[in-house]
Every structure is written in C-alpha cells, then in structure tokens.
C-alpha cells in the first residue's frame, strides 16, 4: 500500500517562490477559462473535471492520507444530491442550506459506519464500505415514494441564486472551481497539521503510531466523516448542475470506483494529485466516448482501462508526483 503513496512533504517546501504561488496561478488561469470558452462540450468537460476533482480531493483525505480505502463514497455523494433536491422539491428549502443538511447526514452516517468498521483492517474495511454503498443505492432504488426510484427526480429550472440554479452553465464552473480551491486549501492545511501527520503515521505503520502515543481511532473516524461531508456537498452541486438525479448517476459503484481511481491515478496522499487525476480521467473518458463511442461497443471502457493500467505501471505513485519528479530531473524545477 505505502509504496503506492507519494509522500508530499507537508512542511514548508524548499522553493524560491512563495508557498501558494503555483496553486494560485493555476487556479486563476482556470478561472479565466469559462469566460473564454463558449463551446458547451468543452465547458461541460471542465465542469465534470471540477466536480470529479472536488470529490477526489474529499475522498483522498480519508483514502489517501489515512489509507482508508473506501469504495462506498458514492453513497455520500448520493445522500448530498438527494438531500438538497428533496428539501428543495418538497419543502422549497434553498439547496444552499440543503447541501449543508446533506453534508450533516453524510458525516453522521460516516461516524456511525466508521465506529463499527474502522476497527477492521485493510480489505475488511474496504468490503464494509462496498456493502454500505450497495445498501444506500438499493435503498434509493426502492423507496420510490421518497426518491422516485429508478426514474429519478427532476429539478425545475427556476434560475436564482437562492435556488442555486443558473441558466448560464459557466456560473456552475466558477462555483465548482471555488469548491475545488477550498478543498485544496483544506487538504494543504490538514496535511501540514498534527492531524495530517497523525493520519500518515497510522497509514504508514499502525503499531508504531500507537507506540508513539498517537490516538488513531478518533481521528480516523473524524477524517472519514469530514471526507463524507465534503463528498456530499459535491453531490448536491452535481444535482443542481444537471437538474436531474437518479440512483445510478449519483450513487453507483462505478462512481465510488472513479473517486478512488482518480485519486490513485493522480497521486494518493498529495493535495494536487486528485485534481490532476480527475482532470485526466474525466477528459480522457469524455473524449473517448465521442471518438470511440460509436464504433465497437465496449471499446471506450477497454481503452480507458488500458490507459489507467499503463499510468499505474509506469508511474506507481501517480501522475502528479511522477511529473513532478520528471520536471525535477530534467530541468531541476520542482513546482
């Protein structure tokens, strides 16, 4: 496990530029994109990358830093999407508030789940998160009166800030970008704190962490809950962007696998890795759907899997750290 994780030095980096120079520059450049790009396909691709990046960042806090590999995070994403949507449709409550309710429900579910399952080791914990994801998915399918079952829920287009609904799709991109920036900063702050160090200690060697007086269980449950709540907020934003949700689009196993995959491909346990992983994975899969989607059926998935395998074999710590090392070796430049 730990061989797959690049260690992001959480302390002050030995660079000549200020600590947040590169992240700020890149985010500003990205923020200019929605103003310059009007092509709906590209705009949608950027939006999907941002939603994925936020979810992957949230997943990475628990899955990457603490090494708690969850394959049930789509359940939290779905809880967020359904909580804000149902509150809006049934009670006319603003999604701005609804997404916080969803985050609260997700965090509480994560605490209960974590208290039971985080005592389990390795693959047993993974299995329990798989089961949790399946239970929530099946539940949403079957409680038709509440969730609309497989036919899903549609949100009427009533553009306003309170409804978090906008006719211009570029506005969503700005919101999603803001969320990614916030999650990135949160990750950096946690990684450089005692909490982040303690999680890494647990991930690297549980007994050694305990022998150094690090109380791991409460912080592991805490980071799992935080990760769940953050994932949930992304789910609410997903619902507002598409104005339609169903169990398969917001809480499927495939979605859970994608969160994990994007963080792993980009670089587990780093703040920038999940963003790079999400952008690459999302863009590759959307572009391939266009060029390969009408050819042989299943070719998209095959090509997609092949790319993932090649990346993982050639850059075992992920694209982010791999590129960083390559830049360092080639040009002596480590951003």
């Amino acid at each position: 496990m730990s061989d797959r994780i690049a260690v992001d030095p959480p302390g002050p980096a030995a660079t000549r530029v200020p600590r947040y120079f590169w992240p700020v520059a890149i985010f500003l450049a990205l923020a200019a994109l929605p103003a310059l790009i009007t092509d709906p396909f590209v705009l949608n691709m950027i939006m999907m990358s941002m939603l994925s990046a936020a979810a992957a960042l949230a997943w990475n806090l628990s899955g990457g830093y603490a090494g708690q590999l969850s394959l049930g995070h789509a359940a939290f994403y779905g809880i967020g999407a359904y909580a804000s949507t149902l509150l809006l449709l049934r009670a006319g409550i603003s999604p701005l508030f609804g997404m916080l309710v969803g985050a609260g429900i997700s965090a509480l579910s994560a605490i209960v789940l974590g208290m039971i399952t985080l005592r389990l080791k390795g693959s047993f914990f993974v299995m329990s998160t798989l089961a949790f994801g399946a239970v929530v998915h099946i539940g949403a399918m079957n409680f038709r009166d509440l969730t609309g079952g497989a036919s899903g829920l549609a949100i009427p287009l009533n553009p306003s800030v309170v409804n978090l609904t906008f006719a211009n799709k570029a506005v969503y991109v700005f919101i999603a970008l803001g969320l990614v920036a916030a999650y990135y900063v949160a990750t950096r702050l946690i990684a450089g704190s005692k909490l982040g160090y303690s999680l890494v200690a647990f991930r690297e060697n549980h007994d050694a962490a305990r022998a150094l007086g690090i109380r791991t269980l409460p912080i592991r449950i805490g980071i799992f809950a935080l990760s769940a709540g953050m994932t949930s907020i992304v789910g609410s934003l997903h619902a507002q962007y598409f104005l339609y949700i169903d169990p398969d689009s917001v809480m499927s196993l495939g979605l859970s696998l994608n969160f994990a995959l994007m963080a792993i491909v980009g670089g587990l346990g780093t703040a920038y890795g999940p963003i790079i992983g999400a952008a690459v994975v999302t863009c590759v899969s959307l572009v391939m759907q266009i060029y390969l989607g009408n050819q042989v059926s299943g070719l998209t998935q095959l090509a997609y899997s092949a790319i993932v395998i090649v990346v993982l074999l050639s850059l075992p710590t992920g694209l982010g750290p791999g590129l960083r090392d390559a830049l360092g070796r080639r040009f002596g430049w480590r951003p």
Binding site: I5, V7, P9, E204, L212
Partner: protein, 244 residues
C-alpha cells in the same frame, strides 16, 4: 520521573506459559536489563508492559497510576515508551518526519515538533540523515532512528528492545554511553539485550528469564557468577568482563 512497578505478570498463549510471575521495579536513574535465551518471554514482557498484549494476571504501575485499563497510546502519553525489536519505521517518510511523529505528543505545533525532532536527531548524531527516507537506512541507523522516535515523546520510563542488534562494536560503545547519559538524566531504563558484554557494561541490575520464569535477579557481577544463569544462558565458559 516515575518508577515502573510490575507484580506477578503472567501470560499464556494456549498451553504455552510465555511469561510466568514476573515482578520487578524500574527506578529513575537505573538501568535494568532483561536477558534470557531466545523464546524466554522477554519481548512478551515488553508487550505486556506497554499494553499491546493484556496479561492474564499481574499488574503494571507507573508511579501511583495503575496502567491496566490504558491502551498502548495512552501508556506512551503517560510516559512509558518502547522501541520494537523488529524496527518499525514509517518507511515512506523522511528520518526527520519519523521523529516528528514522536515529538508531536508534547506540542500541538508542527513547527515546534520539527525543532524538537531535529534536536533529538542531533543528540543521536543523526542530523545529516534527516532528509533521507527511513526505508532506505541501513539497519544500524534504523535502530538509532527507532530510539530517536521514542525519545522525542519525552518518556520517563524507556523500554529498549535489542537496540544494539546489528551494530558494529564502536557503535555499541556509543550506544552504551548514550544510554548511560539517559540514565544520568533520571530516566528509568529497561533493556532487552542479547549482546552479553554490552549488558555487563550497561546495566545496574539484571533480570534473567528462562521459559518465561525469572531464575535470577541481581547486579551484573552476581548474575555472571550465578551457576543457574551460567548453565541456562551464558554457557560454562563465560567470564565476567571486568567493566571494560
């Protein structure tokens, strides 16, 4: 600085009596060595003391505090710290970050923990290694890193499980002086060691275990003359090294 007292510590694994009725007192400013053949139960005693294994009967106290209900992490917080015989570095992290993990116990600021960690590494003469990945260190340095991590938690009682295994003679001598330095600072030190001449030079008292039971307890000189010990462990030809 606190005294560690154990009384009647006993532990069986299935039908095997791994540790039977072990009692001793580790006092501040004293070095107690636990010796015995392989499988005598030495490391099990450490696991019982630090709470990684629960004893069947017997008690462990640190000062006035009964440790029975405390987890390993809480025992470390109370001031009882150990190293592992099979070293347990955080392999993917730098040497400095490994020690920071220990130093965090006594401060909430990572910056302060880094300073504390750097000064512990300095004491152990490991400053030049601080940016190396712990997993890439040779065994001697890993043993010292194990010590550095634990010292960074600022323990009052220190349990050292074969920290001299794999060290070359000059390193053994340095480690002995270092542990004497810790004793002189007032720490209570309990050592498990196979390196016999090191035990004789290092210890103030020695406890000998065989098949989980204490068979002798005394000064290094007394132990070196005890016929039971000689036949059980040291072999008939062992001579007490007169302090060199």
């Amino acid at each position: 600085m606190a005294t560690l007292t154990t009384d009647g510590l006993t532990k069986s694994f299935g039908g095997l009596r791994a540790v039977q009725d072990v009692s001793f007192v580790a006092r501040p400013g004293r070095i107690l060595s636990i010796i015995g053949p392989n499988g005598a139960g030495k490391t099990t005693v450490f696991n019982l003391l630090t709470g990684f294994i629960a004893p069947d009967t017997g008690s462990v106290r640190l000062g006035d505090m009964n440790l029975a209900k405390l987890s390993p992490e809480d025992r470390c917080r109370a001031g009882l710290a150990r190293t592992f015989q099979v070293v347990q570095p955080f392999r993917g992290l730098s040497v400095l970050d490994n020690v920071v993990m220990g130093a965090m116990l006594r401060t909430s600021s990572i910056a302060e923990a880094r300073e504390a960690a750097a000064s512990v590494l300095d004491e152990l003469g490991m400053s030049r290694l601080k940016d190396m990945r712990a997993g890439s260190l040779p065994i001697g340095d890993r043993k010292r890193l194990e010590m550095a991590k634990v010292l960074a938690t600022r323990p009052s009682v220190l349990l050292l499980d074969e920290v001299m295994g794999g060290l070359i003679p000059i390193e053994v001598q340095r480690m002995i002086s270092f542990i004497h330095g810790l004793r002189d600072r007032g720490l209570a030190v309990v050592v498990i060691e196979h390196h016999m001449s090191a035990v004789m030079r290092l210890s103030d008292e020695v406890l000998v275990l065989q098949n989980g039971q204490p068979i002798a307890h005394g000064s290094p000189q007394e132990i070196g003359r005890d016929p039971k010990v000689l036949s059980a462990y040291l072999g008939p030809n062992f001579q007490v090294d007169g302090g060199h």
